[in-house]
């Protein structure tokens, strides 16, 4: 039963990733893209968790920790860059 559920969850996460990627390419302003990148990082954390269940390798959780950490740091860095004066409309 869990195998079927894991495949369904992979599919749902892929659809979510696709939607966030559409916003990333389309987004009218730079903060929109940063928000969508943060959502993509959060979805990838979910992917890694599901993959850890799928393969039974619990060490993959370290990857999830690192991805969450870098997502936070990139968000802070982008926000600093924007407030210091990035390009206004892109």
């Amino acid at each position: 039963m869990l195998n079927v559920v894991i495949n369904i969850v992979y599919f749902m996460l892929s659809v979510a990733l696709l939607f966030a990627f559409i916003r990333l390419t389309k987004g009218p302003s730079l903060p929109d893209r940063v928000v969508s990148l943060e959502l993509i990082a959060s979805i990838v954390v979910g992917y890694v968790g599901v993959h850890a269940i799928d393969t039974g390798v619990s060490s993959l959780l370290d990857v999830a920790i690192v991805i969450a950490l870098t997502a936070f740091l990139t968000a802070i860095g982008f926000a600093r860059f924007l407030e210091r004066g990035g390009r206004k409309s892109e």
């Binding site: 659809v15 916003r23 903060p31 959502l39 959060s42 802070i76 982008f78 926000a79 600093r80 407030e83």
Partner: protein, 139 residues
Amino acid sequence: MSELIVAILLLTGASFMILASVGILRLPDLPTRMHASTKAGAMGAMMTMAGVAMHFGDVVVFTRAFAIVIFILITAPIAAHVIGRAGYFLGTPLWEGTVKDELKDNYDEKTHSLYSGFEPAPESVIPPTHKKRDEDDEI
């Protein structure tokens, strides 16, 4: 039994993720998009991590998953606050149906200080104009 709980947790987490991405795709401006994505995305990741901790049933794995949940719980609001602040000061246009923008009247963007309206505000801040309603006015 444990498999059933793991399956339910994973499916709920993935549903939250899909909700977040539909919100980020469909909503009209930056604050509403952040409202959809940050909360639902963090909730989805946290429920997936709860499913992982439930599936392995090991103390080490549980501790790691719990650490990830705590980390997401702490950092997601901070990142959302910082990006929203930067987006507001960058002048990203709000949705045309926005009813209230309270910062616009009381906030000085040069000195980053907030005025409550009781003290005299400097010239850089346009004081809010409150219309007094006369008794003769039609409502």
